[in-house]
């Protein structure tokens, strides 16, 4: 790489980090707005998540007396690992800035690290709800992690790589032939995974504070102030990250392959459109289903395994590309 390219890649990296973090609350807001509209409510204003974050950021933090350093460090580590996953996913430019350092399996690991830190912190404070939430969350995580890996293998099968950039590039050059049955099955499995990973209905209800049904909310009960702001932003960031991975692989067209101004502008606009549409769809979906009994989540996980494994079998056994 020439120094010029290194500089440009660094700029892309910075832009993508800023974009991901900046967009995260907006997309959460879109999901909420879509949800409230389909329930005939006005719903909060679109900038409410930003206002909430600003308010939390200005507040002091109080820690439980019995808690250790884990409680203090967890929100930072959890957020940082999500932030670190951002440059591994293609946003508006190919190749992804940190693509040389790792593939999509790194993203799985970073998401798992973030989940682990939140769960450990919930145990640290010693409240019953925290422990309940973390066992549930780790259980759900363990159920869906196989799906994540299988989907990555299924996505990577046509291009022979688990590298996000290679997968997306392969898809973008393939045209309509990219939308093969195997890809669609794997993407359907990923959609189920997305619901579970981001704590959406029917797996977890992000809008509730009813103790018996909470998963994620139960884990972060002890937090306030800046820590809570980081956790909430992290939760939105996790959603944006997974949504972006989903739309980037499913609809890879329009991503910028060179530093041309027109290509970059088009890629940015398309990125926004895809992400907004995907979040609106997520909100719509959320109004159509009820929260499931916790143990039924395993049924959902089984369906996602079947879809992902089915996609791989179609590719390798049947030869349906």
């Amino acid at each position: 790489m020439t120094p010029w390219e290194i500089l440009l890649t660094t700029l892309v990296l910075a832009a993508e980090l800023a974009l991901a973090v900046g967009l995260a609350p907006l997309l959460t807001s879109v999901v909420r707005r879509r949800k409230s509209r389909s329930q005939r409510r006005t719903g909060p204003s679109m900038i409410q998540p930003y206002l909430d974050l600003a308010k939390l950021w200005g507040k002091g933090t109080v820690y439980v007396e019995s808690s250790s350093a884990v409680t203090r460090a967890a929100p930072l580590i959890s957020f940082a690992s999500l932030l670190a996953a951002v440059p591994f996913v293609p946003w508006f430019f190919l190749p992804a800035p940190l693509g040389f350092a790792g593939d999509l399996i790194v993203v799985v690991g970073l998401l798992a690290l973030s989940r682990f830190m939140t769960a450990v912190a919930a145990l640290d404070a010693g409240s019953t709800f925290g422990g309940m939430g973390s066992t549930r969350d780790m259980w759900i995580g363990a159920l869906f992690e196989p799906t994540f890996l299988l989907v990555i293998f299924a996505w990577g099968a046509p291009s022979g790589s688990t590298q996000a950039s290679t997968i997306v590039l392969h898809g973008a050059t393939l045209g309509a032939a990219h939308l093969s049955p195997a890809l669609l099955l794997a993407s359907a499995a990923f959609a189920l995974l997305l619901l579970a990973e981001t704590g959406r209905l029917p797996v977890d209800n992000p809008a509730t504070h009813l103790e018996l049904t909470m998963v994620h909310e139960a884990m972060v009960l002890e937090y306030g102030g800046r820590d809570l702001a980081l956790i909430e932003l992290g939760q939105s960031l996790r959603m944006v990250l997974l949504l972006e991975l989903f739309v980037a692989v499913l609809l890879p067209w329009g991503i910028a392959l060179s530093f041309g101004l027109a290509a970059l502008a088009l890629a940015l606009v398309l990125l926004l459109v895809k992400l907004l549409a995907a979040s609106a769809l997520l909100g719509e979906l959320e109004t159509r289903v009820a929260k499931w009994r916790l143990f039924r989540v395993a049924d959902l996980a089984v369906l996602s395994w079947v879809l992902a494994l089915g996609s791989i079998s179609l590719t390798y056994l049947v030869g349906v590309g």
Binding site: P158, A176, A177, L179, S180, P181, L184, L185, A188, R296, A298, D299, V302, L303, W305, V306, L307, L309, G310, S313, L314, L317, V318, G319, V320, G321
Partner: protein, 219 residues
Amino acid sequence: MSLAPGQQLLEVLAAVVLVTSWISLVHRRVAALVRLYAAQSAAMAAVAGLVAYLYNAPILYLTGATIFGLNAVLIPTVLLRLQRDLRVPDEVNMLVSVRTSGLAGLGCLLLAVAVVGPLTPYAEIPAAGLLPISVTVVLIGLFLTSTRRKAFTQVIGMLVMANGVFLAGLALTFGLGLLLELGVAANLLILAIVGRLFLFRMKDSFDTVDADALRALEG
């Protein structure tokens, strides 16, 4: 893997048929099973129409129209009305758990691939995935029929099986020939009607449509 767009669309539609039968395996609501069957039949009709277009076999348009009218519209309507009239509870009663059912669905695919896979090179098939998928759907229908308690859901299992046979027919012979197709379609309708009569009689005699109640008839 470079396929013609038409063939790729064919495989996507076949995958839709496959996914609807997988979801039928893990769904717990009777009404949803009927709607899934309707969606599956609509995808089947599209497969027939597409094969007709790609291979210039206009008779298959008629087959597609028959499948759509009968399997996607008429039979589901009859079944939903039947469910309402008989007050069949919406819960699906299973002999095996939802999770086992789901994994069995995957097993059906693997079995179908193992059995039909070696044949694929010898047959002239519009798209490679069509034959294994159709056999999978037949197996899933069989599984649904044999592991669901209510006669009502067993009827749906039979219908899913019939869809699989249809798909296999489309895959292997570009449609079984119109007369045969119409015959099978008529049979399906008769199945639905006989199922209806049978269920009414059963509800009269036993006050339930749970097929296990038939055990009381054992001498």
